[in-house]
Symmetry: C2
Subunit: 272 residues, 2 copies
């Protein structure tokens, strides 16, 4: 999905919500564990059917699939196939945070952008250019590079500052513009970073930002929009746990829909 | 496997060789593709049986398994089970380069250190403390943190320098000592980095270093040992392509054994 299509869908649905599919067998309703389907997929399918009207993107977090081995990988494949077949207008992000030497990044890119046909993959920048560019060789696909993340540990290295006062996350933003552009590169910026969005917009005024950290992690949607929104929206705001686990009875999907709708309504008022 | 066991095995085998299992269906001998077994596993099994006397560690690179979906994940599980059953004295590294918010890193750690029972996992430091520490909660298991990697892109951010002249990779080494120690933390340092090993040993004099970049990437084993070896060896030197694809006829395993043996003999002369 290209930038213009993404912007069109955001306008049309009055939403820039991404639902994070961090599906945890310990937390899903117990009745799904005994059903005929792979329970991870059964849960995802119900969540997707309930929340699709209110969001523009889905983001499976690969850790939550890998930890169930073959069953998890099967559920991931089923989820992507289901989304591609029934919801072709949703943007699909593999939250993988991969990045390795060129030879290896090419394999990850093939796995996630071709075999699994995601629209985008999150990539860690530590290993530099040849770890990132193999993911940029697919037309209409995206790299979402980690810039300033939502967690406490983001302070450890991302704020490391050179003699000119440039911090590492700013160097990542600046340098990566040599490898891609606003049609191929987005950045992860945590909702917990508040006014730092102003600093980020000085370097990447028009890039889309994938923003985790609303909900369970405590970030504010209003603040993110005040400092980070562009004329084209320029934001995909993710919520995972607050939607997926809004209720763990048989009504989990309805509860998830209500949570997603609540966020979508708030987003409609915030869109410029 | 703990540090003392690892050192004992290195002394006993006169080897600090790690064989990287970067198994690529495009490169393995064609006759394996039509066999009754999963061809990735069939290849790995033959390589392991041929090279086990000459190495102390194996390192599957997860990208090469993920890109084959269920077939790949199955081969990874089979490979780890086979190694655990028949080669309990080999150190097993998941080359995954993972790292995410705490909640997610916990899932990756569970997947790789419990479900798959690897001894160690490579972790990317960009997201800081809470992205790394969940991997440190397993007795006898290890984090291998990226410090100064072997690829060209290592210059982009790893050499980013603060006003005091500390470079990012040095800050990663320094800071991570607050989270673990020589019994739980190793570091990735590329063989292509030559004299930089001297700088690294000033900060982590006794840590084990996992050293990729010998062979296909052009690093020198002598140079790595001259500047990086400690009294306890302190090195695991990886070779992947030069061993796996030494020959792609039916004699591939014998050719791999010869390559591994050649490196082991060289290592025996270099061990202090």
């Amino acid at each position: 999905m290209n930038r213009q299509e993404l912007i069109r869908i955001i306008r049309q649905k009055q939403s820039f919500l991404c639902v994070g599919l961090d599906t945890d067998l310990q937390k899903i309703p117990k009745h799904l564990l005994d059903g005929p389907q792979n329970p991870i997929f059964a849960f995802n399918k119900a969540i997707i059917e309930a929340t699709a009207p209110y969001c523009v993107a889905y983001k499976p977090n690969l850790a939550f699939y890998e930890c169930y081995g073959l069953q998890g990988w099967e559920a991931l494949e089923q989820t992507v196939c289901f989304l591609r077949e029934h919801y072709p207008d949703h943007f699909l992000i593999a939250d993988a945070k991969r990045g390795d030497i060129g030879n290896t990044s090419r394999m990850y890119a093939h796995a996630l952008l071709e075999v699994l046909d995601f629209d985008a993959v999150t990539v860690a920048p530590y290993m530099g250019e040849d770890s990132v560019t193999p993911f940029l060789n697919y037309a209409g696909k995206w790299v979402i590079l980690l810039a300033l993340t939502s967690n406490g540990g983001s302070r450890d290295f991302q704020l490391f500052e050179n003699a000119e006062g440039t911090r590492l996350f700013e160097e990542v933003l600046r340098k990566s513009r040599e490898w891609g552009n606003d049609d191929t590169l987005m950045y992860v910026v945590g909702a917990t970073q508040g006014k730092m969005f102003e600093e980020i917009r000085k370097i990447v005024p028009n890039s889309f930002l994938l923003v985790p950290g609303i909900g369970a992690q405590g970030g504010s949607l209003e603040e993110v929009c005040r400092y980070g929104m562009t004329r084209d929206c320029g934001l995909l705001v993710n919520a995972s746990r607050s939607i997926l686990y809004a209720d763990n009875s048989e009504n989990f999907a309805e509860a998830a829909a209500l949570e997603a709708q609540k966020l979508q309504k708030q987003m409609a008022t915030l869109l410029l």
